[in-house]
Amino acid sequence: MTTIVGLKCVDSVVLASDSRASKGGMIGSKGVKKIYLIDETKAVAIAGQLSDANYLINLVKAEAKLMEFNRGFPLTVKEVAKLLSNMLYSGMRSYAPFITEMLVAGVDDSGPQLFEADISGAVTDENFTSSGSGSPMAYGVLESTYRAALTPEEGVEIASKAVKSAIERDPGSGNGVQILVITPKGAEWHNMGGA
């Protein structure tokens, strides 16, 4: 279930999600958080098993902080994505996979970055991407409207439209859109509301 979307803009990245947690055929929660900050300029959007995703994010947050203390400068977005993917891969290989897919986004020394890590630990570098049960609908919007050199404002508009389209047609997604815009200065939340 879920719809999450990520897209690269000029000097920034936008992550968006719906807010619905599904419990079988029921709506388990109407206001669930699916985008998590790793630090001031990095975040992860999650789809799949919430508990698995939370566990991985907590581990990566701790590891990222420890590494930053030890070496004196923060992890790159790619390094965060690799840490996550290594755990996803070892999960798959030990027949106890983490049932989750993640969009890792952020801004570092080499500019805006967006990666997708799946249940098998595969990492891909993307300009825009979507995951979750609503992703086919979101992709419809992204494929027709995404272009290079979007401003963050335009990015927010496209991301929000993509998630809203999914909410309209995917029963696994709903209850409002949450958006995070990450720039070199930090991350800013936009709550698009709705139930």
């Binding site: 030890n70 070496r71 400068f73 790159t76 790619k78 390094e79 840490l83």
Partner: protein, 229 residues
């Protein structure tokens, strides 16, 4: 330093004297002073290290002094060759471990921290011998060019100009007197060579390690003079 003749404190490896010293560790530091010297100098956008290869015998190949750790990092030691090799091997494994996890080269400080902890561990356990080696690590990473120095205690120092090994005090004296902020590369190389010659004169060829751009490269003095222009 004073070598205590019949002191019982210099035998167990990890035991303090009543005045709070670890004699085995101090002895290990003495061993470093017999090693042939290494000098390193850092500038604005580069770092270099110089050392003389040891020519042991005309029939033998000279023993290399500067070792590659990864594409972006090099190291040279003073002290017991076996101990230096062990440290270099540790550094290489740590560098590759980082590449396996992150698919990116390791930063210099992480290598040095690892080596520092490794060396320090030999001062805390019985039944082991503190490594009789000091190491200079030079490299390049995302945040700049770096010089680090490690000693048998596991102490990590970083700086603009460093020297270890035999007569390193003489080399340091010259470095202190003549080091200038943001030195041009050619001047820095020249200073490093002169500092090295202060500590040790010899005929054997000088090796140069150069951290420039994203890489660390090992080369002859002639090649270095051409490369760093």
């Amino acid at each position: 330093m004073m070598i205590s003749g019949n002191s019982p404190y210099d035998r167990p490896y990890a035991m303090y004297t009543p005045d709070g010293r670890l004699l085995q560790v101090e002895y290990a530091s003495e061993a470093v002073k017999y090693g042939s010297p290494v000098v390193a100098v850092r500038g604005k956008d580069f770092a270099i290290m110089v050392a003389r290869t040891k020519d042991t015998d005309p029939l033998l190949d000279p023993i290399e002094k500067i070792h590659m750790v990864d594409e972006n990092i090099g190291a040279a030691g003073a002290g017991f060759t076996g101990d230096i090799n062990l440290l270099v091997d540790q550094a290489r494994v740590e560098a590759q471990r980082h590449r396996l996890v992150f698919e990116d080269p390791i930063d210099v400080k992480s290598v040095v921290n690892h080596l520092g902890q490794f060396m320090y561990s030999f001062t805390r356990y019985g039944g082991v011998r503190p490594l009789g080696a000091a190491l200079i690590v030079v490299g390049s990473d995302r945040i700049g060019k770096h010089l680090y120095q490690l000693d048998p205690r596991g102490l990590i120092l970083s700086g603009k100009a460093l020297a270890i090994g035999k007569n390193s005090e003489d080399a340091i004296q010259l470095l202190k007197a003549e080091y200038k902020q943001d030195m041009p590369r050619k001047e820095a190389l020249d200073l490093a060579i002169r500092a090295l010659s202060k500590a040790e004169d010899g005929e054997s060829p000088i090796e140069v390690g150069v951290a420039l751009g994203k890489t660390f490269k090992k080369m002859s003095l002639e090649e270095a003079k051409r490369t760093i222009m």
